[in-house]
Amino acid sequence: MKEKNVKKDIRSWLDERSGLSAVFRFLREKKIPQHKHSLWYYTGSAILLFFGIQVITGFMLVFYYSPTLEEANSSVARIMTEVPLGWIIRSVHSWSASFMIAFVFIHLLSIWITKAYRKPRELTWMSGVFLLILSLLFGFTGYLLPWDDLSLSATKVGTDIPRSIPVLGVWVTKFLRGGEDVTGDTLTRFFGFHVCILPLFLLALLVVHVYLIQKQGMSLPLDLERKEEKVKELPFWPNFVYREMIVWLVLIGILFTVSIFFPPSLDKAADLMAPAPEGIKPEWYFLFLFQMLKIFPAKILFMNGDTLAVLLILLGGIAFFFLPLIDNKPAERKGKIITVIAYLFIIYVVGMSVWSLL
């Protein structure tokens, strides 16, 4: 009994000075609706789990990684061969990146299909689109860091794509590369993006995104909202959190198993003067864009094929960003068409990705 009082004393001491009990009260009162689509509510925190793992393994890798042209590849080789269990940490970092981006896509699609972005959650969606772009940039910048042949070529291609955009494109490429070409400066710049600039932006946006979610509460799928009957709700703490813990534990288990049995390998250091190796591929989450650029012919009418493709992708991206404003009548025919577009998008992305591998 004495122990409990000590805990209470510490808690009240802290609460007098910080007002933390308000947070705990909020977490107990926050409600999560339970219905047949409730499973999707777990996707957001799964992303957070994998991001947390990225931060921790990232901290550890940065202890031994050297972001210079001469030492990048050899420092990764050292992590994989000399540092105790280094290959596991690198493997976890690599796999967790893929898992995180996979869940970002799943989360995005679930929001799109359930139309959770409708009023008043438009800003949550828009901050989410920025978070998606940041996650993809994390993947892109991280991919170069081992500085092997494959990652160098993938970066050359990837940073060349913005060039197709008229007027501004050249400057975007120069900004990403730190010059006209991919050099050691590109590597250092990408490292700076990956460990400093992008994390700060991501954290800032994450705070906005999570704050908006807490303020507005969990959304209901459209048809349930319109029925206006009482939906069973679970308090976030403790009922939903314990369920979330189960999901997290299983995900951690899968991540570890996969990381241990399928660790990524390391090719020899990139040679800036060597010809491009065969079979260049970006990471899986860029495959569908890569394929789209491949299938566009070199010239369409008067326009450069690449430019048209990039502009189409940009237009698609902008429409995507403004989706909540475009889908302003979700219950009507327009809304249903947009839901169908979501399914078509899934088929398109999967189809293009598979096609790019054939």
Partner: protein
């Protein structure tokens, strides 16, 4: 002896089990992380040097060699024998130097003094200089950790 009432409630028991297992799980994940962050010491077991570099040393002179990532000193004594030290001050890890005219090792950081046998004689150093096992085998000078570790 059977107790009339339970020492703790079922809720406390379950909470204890859950918390305990979560702690064990977290600890088992922490272990590889700690192993990664604290890599093993990088001192070599032995260093083999060509004796030819040392056989013409004058008495009361020293020569440096690399003991892993630490500096090492080989000293030729007056009687012609050799002694090897790890040239790191036992106070706060600065590198020491040998002053032949004074027959003393000196650490400039906090003015620590050791005699020609590495025994600490003045200043803050708490222990003598660490000795290494030196042996001459054929053409090689072999330096090992003292005490056969």
């Amino acid at each position: 002896m059977k107790l009339r009432h339970s020492l703790f409630t079922r809720r406390q028991f379950l909470n204890g089990l859950l918390g305990g297992w979560l702690g064990a799980f977290a600890a088992s994940l922490l272990f590889p992380i700690l192993k990664f962050i604290f890599p093993p010491t990088r001192e070599p077991d032995e260093v083999i040097l060509p004796f030819a570099d040392f056989q013409d040393m004058e008495p009361n002179t020293v020569k440096n060699f690399a003991w892993g990532s630490k500096p090492g000193i080989v000293k030729r004594n007056d009687d012609g024998s050799y002694t090897a030290f790890v040239a790191v001050c036992t106070h706060l890890d600065c590198n020491v130097t040998y002053l032949p005219d004074q027959r003393k090792f000196f650490c400039a950081c906090h003015e620590g003094w050791y005699d020609e046998n590495g025994i600490h004689i003045a200043g803050p150093p708490p222990r003598p200089l660490r000795r290494l096992n030196l042996s001459i085998e054929g053409e090689n000078l072999i330096i090992k950790r003292e005490g056969g570790e």
